[in-house]
Amino acid sequence: MIRFTFVKPDGAEVAVEAEAGTSVMQAALDNGVDGITAECNGSAACATCHAFFDPEIVDQLADMSEHEDDMLDFAAVERRPESRLSCQVPVCDVLAERKVTLPDAQ
């Protein structure tokens, strides 16, 4: 199990533990963290699972596909360099003890 923390839009922090390989989106849903809508349940088709990762480690996460890159431009809150669709990011060691910040709107 890997421990990391979601920072919700209101600033509240929720520490979670998740199995390596489950998506960060799934970890949020499993732990009842609101701030992720995930309308397509992880099909990379809705852009409502947008999250900001720790800039120090964002480059070490699973690669971003062209499809995710296109979709991120249409997220409700403007993307930043540390933006990802959380359904496309599997939980992995580099996430341990890091923060994942959720945007104000999905």
Partner: protein, 395 residues
């Protein structure tokens, strides 16, 4: 304690076609899955239960040995699960990406919409079903697919014939024959352009299939093009009409949208919630299980009623009202889960950004004609089948 499935047996298909919402309300109150005699299927109508179904596709499968869809169209991605589904879905994705839709397809949609409106703008009245919504959806789909020289009426007829074939549980030979004719017409339309799309990479769906990491075989191309013809035409058509209807019936909201055209996109989204173009889609229970308060058995056929879930009062205040100002919450009009509508961003652009705002801009003083009144029909697929309007010409 979960209990056995209950039955509703005093409803006719004609009642469902005319107005399914009272039945949806009744069924939602009875249980998580309720057998509807006239349709011979278990209806699932509660929002939360549908989310459970969509998050457990190992238990609630899309693959279905009894599916007529496979017989009529071939085995398409809509009736596959897991990796087989994912590979085909990823193959078509490039044509449907929101960025591609905006840069490549929006100009095409604009041209079609203007061309259609040019033809009737000076007449002062029209039925928007056949003068606008049907040809708009059909011509746009033809372009997206990469077809050339196919009349919009032919594509619309093929689409209907395929859908009728998929619903032909009584094996009516005439419906079968029309579905076969449609299938052959589509195969020929593919054949006519496939060489070109194989040779060049472009934004069309046929080109995406040919150039994917796992390129589609000819059988995959035929089946998936057919599923897109069957499922990519009536929904944008119906949602154009429903969005216009909702705005024309609610003058304050219409004025808000005219003052701030960004709101047409919200009006489209609300229309898809209010009268969901796909009201029901099927799933199969893969092993004995319980859903909410109801016990289900392996092999049970479920009708996932997103049209009902989108009016679930535990989720939406004033659920029966068209209200573009309601707080943004998730609706299920595009489904959820692995089969979430691939065409979502196409529909958003075509309907909410192009077709509907253009109608209001180019037809000043647009109002419902009143007599005859608009007519809505359907429950598996639902939308206006006639939308007579008038507007001011000249002046």
């Amino acid at each position: 304690m979960a209990s056995a499935v209950q039955t509703v047996s005093d409803v006719t298909i004609e009642e469902m076609m005319a107005d399914p919402y009272p039945v949806f309300d009744r069924v939602r109150d009875i249980g998580s899955a309720v057998w509807l005699d006239c349709a011979a299927i278990h209806l699932v109508t509660r929002f939360d239960d549908i989310m459970t179904v969509e998050r457990n596709h190992a238990v609630f499968a899309s693959t279905n040995p009894k599916s007529l869809m496979n017989k009529v169209m071939g085995h398409s991605l809509m009736r596959k699960d897991d990796e087989a589904h994912r590979n085909e879905r990823m193959a078509v994705e490039p044509s449907f990406r929101p960025g591609i839709v905006k840069t490549e397809w929006r100009p095409v949609f604009e041209e079609i919409a203007d061309d259609l409106i040019d033809a009737f703008a000076d007449r002062g009245e029209a039925d928007l079903f056949d003068s606008f919504a049907a040809p708009m959806a059909s011509r746009a789909l033809s372009a997206l697919l990469g077809f050339e020289g196919v009349a919009w009426q032919d594509l619309a007829r093929w689409s209907q014939a395929l859908m009728d074939g998929v619903g032909n549980y009584h094996a009516d030979p005439e419906i079968d024959a029309r579905a076969r004719e449609a299938s052959e017409g589509i195969d020929a339309a593919i054949e006519a352009v496939l060489g070109k799309h194989r040779a060049e990479r472009n934004a069309t769906i046929l080109s995406s299939m040919a150039h994917a990491e796992h390129p589609h075989s000819i059988d995959q191309i035929r089946a998936n093009i057919k599923v897109i013809v069957g499922g990519g035409l009536n929904e944008p058509r119906d949602s154009i009409l429903t969005t216009v209807l909702g705005l024309l019936q609610n003058d304050d909201q219409r004025r808000q949208a005219e003052a701030n055209p960004k709101l047409f996109a919200k009006a489209f989204e609300e229309a898809v919630r209010w009268v969901s173009p796909i009201g029901m889609y099927p799933r199969r229970v893969a092993c004995d299980t319980t859903l909410g308060d109801t016990v289900l058995k392996e092999g049970d056929q479920l009708g996932i009623c997103v049209g009902a879930a989108n009016r679930d009062p535990s989720r939406f205040d004033g659920a029966n009202d068209f209200d573009i100002n309601r707080p943004k919450v998730q609706h299920l009009g595009f489904g959820a889960g692995p089969h979430f509508c691939a065409g979502t961003w196409v529909a958003r652009q075509m309907v909410g950004e192009v077709a509907v705002p253009k109608l209001f801009r180019r037809l000043p003083g647009l109002v419902l004609k009143g007599d005859p009144p608009p007519v809505e029909r359907g429950w598996v697929f639902r939308g206006p089948v006639s939308l007579p309007v008038r507007w001011t010409v000249g002046g």
